[in-house]
Symmetry: C2
Subunit: 192 residues, 2 copies
């Protein structure tokens, strides 16, 4: 998606440790018009899949999920990263390792929001190693829900998450795939 690649080139910042900061528009400050274009593109790609729910994980995934769900006219459900007193005991749980925060955490989703009648589009802002995504897929499996597709804004193509998901047969679309981040701060995108 040209619009997203261009924005990453203009405002993304490469930091040591293969960190790509896109907090100006994707995960701290949010450019809602850009997110709307991302949602529209996911709809164009997956509109014939019979999607019943958009699934994501808090926090920044929620923004993309909402803008996507507007086009599909289906609800969003988002997995939570901490168990709140307000949640029922009736939850699906999966363990995820975060490289950003350097620890394991549980993700939870109330059972009543996902079941065998659902076909979900999973969306998120980033895909790198794929730990959070594997947690969401595990929850879909526990729920008996079908996965109609996976939509990612930015994939780090030099990390193994995307390749593993494609090899496993998922219909994964990453709107921008960064194949290389150079020491001078420049980026190389995978042609697609």
């Amino acid at each position: 998606m040209e619009l997203l690649e261009q924005r990453i080139r203009e405002q993304g910042q490469v930091r040591p440790g293969n960190i790509l900061k896109v907090d100006c528009f994707l995960n701290h400050q949010l450019d809602v018009e850009l997110l709307d274009e991302i949602g529209k593109e996911f709809y164009r790609l997956y509109k014939d899949e019979g999607i019943t729910k958009i699934l994501t994980i808090e926090a920044s995934g929620i923004a993309i999920a909402c803008m996507t769900a507007r086009y599909f006219r289906v609800p969003v459900v988002f997995a939570k990263k901490a168990k709140s007193k307000n949640l029922d005991g009736e939850v699906f749980t999966s363990v995820v390792h975060s490289y950003t925060y350097g620890r394991d955490y549980d993700i939870t989703l109330a059972r009543k929001f996902l079941g065998p009648g659902d076909k979900v589009l999973i969306v998120d802002d980033f895909l790198a190693v794929g730990k959070a995504m594997n947690g969401l897929l595990d929850i879909c499996k526990q729920a008996g829900a079908q996965v109609g597709g996976i939509g990612i804004a930015i994939e780090k193509g030099f990390q193994p998450g995307g390749a593993a998901l494609r090899a496993a047969g998922y219909r994964l679309t990453s709107l921008a795939i960064v194949d290389r981040m150079n020491d001078d701060g420049t980026l190389e995108f995978r042609p697609q």
Copy 2:
């Protein structure tokens, strides 16, 4: 807002400890069409305030903030509840006590996203004691940003947050104010 009150009556669940569960449409599963109506209403109310940014706090506030920002055509910025390695050291910080999680936590916002030139509309899904809101107001004060208004989906009118903010002179709008939650599970809304 009649539409929201009706939905709370139909799908909200009253639980011991003054908990109102609205996870079917507001903060776990998200009814994006309802959120869009909420965003449209905030725009109607605050469109002449010269709002430059919609400010909220992760996680469920993000959904309402995005739908609101679409109408205002301004960016969302959301405060984070944990300090990530990805954040610059250059952040505003405030301490918030969560009654839901029973602990204190820091909220942070990168300094570059809020400054004296900004006039913000703060939005969130719930207002009860007002601890999270006071944290966001503290960050606005640190940034020198003006607060053009506060938009809340559901206010617990029997808790002190709303009254304190109105007494302090903020232009606060809560689209549904629950004044009483009864043992039989029924609710009483404040007429407005």
